[in-house]
């Protein structure tokens, strides 16, 4: 019982903020639109799938001004899309085949800790396999990156990593088959900058990448 009380106190302190804020938010939404949550309860039909970094500074919905129900979200270290990763692959699969999203946005960000770690020649233990994917992106663009210095090189790897992940998504059977049939989803590569809080469009050319990869990766039958 004494333990129970102590625990209650602990939980009170540690969770008050999150629960209070949540309650306040829920009340605000209901005041604005009494049907708000009833509508959401009926299901989701988001137009977008967002694949972004886990970084706490880039809450996808907040920075795009979208509300609940509008964007399906996957976030991991350095917004990677690896073909043997069941986690991200099931997200892409579900979003494309079941939710039929129209756009897939891969969003990286300047100052990404994951990319920075991958640029550090060091054993990072459990993170090695994951970061290896970024190191591979570096290897693919070694010449271009080596010609750059410091921040410029770092920023460029962030961009190249996003483009590479867009390519990885386009390589999936789900995206290729849906695109052949419906002309969506379209894949976009963006980078968030802390300088101004704006998203930079890397102008990833979905059609061109698709044509390019289909020589080897065509999965549309």
């Amino acid at each position: 019982m004494a333990e129970q009380q102590e625990v209650q106190k602990y939980l009170q302190q540690s969770h008050d903020k999150i629960f209070e804020s949540n309650k306040k938010w829920a009340e605000e939404q209901k005041a604005k639109n009494p049907q708000f949550f009833d509508e959401l309860q009926k299901g989701q039909s988001p137009d977008y799938l967002w694949i972004g970094c886990s970084d706490s500074r880039i809450p996808a919905e907040a920075i795009t001004g979208l509300g609940p129900g509008e964007m399906f979200i996957h976030r991991n270290i350095a917004n990677l899309v690896c073909n043997v990763d069941l986690n991200v692959m099931s997200v892409v699969n579900y979003a494309v085949r079941h939710l039929k999203v129209k756009h897939i946005v891969v969003c990286g960000h300047y100052g990404c800790g994951g990319v920075k770690a991958a640029m550090t020649p060091q054993d990072l233990g459990l993170l090695n396999p994951w970061l290896r994917n970024i190191r591979d992106v570096y290897r693919l663009h070694e010449k271009e990156l080596d010609a750059l210095e410091g921040e410029a090189r770092y920023d460029r790897l962030v961009e190249l990593n996003v483009v590479e992940q867009c390519r990885n998504i386009i390589k999936t059977a789900a995206v290729q088959q849906s695109y052949a049939e419906n002309e969506f989803p379209i894949v976009h590569g963006w980078v968030f900058g802390f300088k101004d809080g704006l998203l930079k469009d890397l102008k990833v050319d979905h059609e061109a990448i698709l044509k390019d990869i289909q020589k080897i990766y065509n999965l549309t039958n």
Binding site: S21, A26, Q44, T64, L80, N87, G113, W130
Partner: protein, 214 residues
């Protein structure tokens, strides 16, 4: 229904407004953010579009480190989630991990049965479906699939927490500096979060109630 390009314009415009508003409120906001992150919480939630964690918690950018996947699962052999946990716990030193499931979860609903969803999703949901088989009697006794899916979502949060507790960085941080792991359920119909507290009923403490015991 908006056309494909309109949908995209919308978030580009939404971002412009976000950037303007944020800078208007605090001209140094982005400068501060650019210096780095020190989130206290790692949020592991569902990819479901209806649960934007930062919005529903009224949090600010910089407060929640986020991993979201189908049905907020943490599987022991998943390098994606394991890397997020490693980075958040060992490098960013978050103080708490929150696993948040929710009502009306598509992943939980799909796990109530064995419909073929393709190899990828079948494999991903396999542990949740196994969980359903292990709790068959309890789930069968519930009135309808809505309630069953919610209960399975709860069980799944506990399962994710059990896996998390075995993660080497989590184990170490729980012992060394009192990292705590919590289970939450978000009620989509009410917009509210609720703390899961039936850990004791499962016959063993999962640390939820006792931050310093492990």
């Amino acid at each position: 229904m908006a056309t494909a390009m309109d949908a995209l314009d919308r978030i580009v415009e939404g971002n412009r407004i976000y950037a303007q508003k944020t800078a208007a409120k605090d001209p140094n906001a982005f400068l501060e953010l650019s210096k780095g992150q020190a989130p206290e919480i790692l949020w592991i939630g569902c990819a479901d579009s209806r649960i934007p964690e930062t919005t529903i918690c009224h949090s600010r950018p910089g407060e929640l480190f986020v991993h979201r996947n189908i049905a907020n699962c943490v599987h022991a052999d998943d390098m994606n989630a394991a890397s997020v946990v490693e980075y958040a716990v060992a490098h960013l030193k978050v103080k708490r991990i929150v696993v948040c499931g929710h009502s009306k979860c598509g992943g939980a609903i799909a796990s109530l049965g064995d419909a073929d969803l393709g190899t990828t999703l079948n494999t991903w949901l396999h542990p949740a479906r196994e969980l359903r088989r292990r709790h068959k009697a309890e789930l069968d006794a519930l009135p309808d699939d809505d309630v069953r899916a919610l209960r399975l979502a709860e069980l799944n949060v506990h399962q994710s927490i059990d896996v998390l507790r075995q993660h080497p960085a989590v184990k170490k941080a729980v012992g060394d500096r009192g990292l705590t792991v919590h289970g939450l359920i978000y009620d989509i119909g009410a917009g509210q979060l609720r703390l899961l507290e039936d850990a004791a009923a499962r016959g063993k403490g999962n640390g939820l109630w006792s931050p310093n015991r492990h």
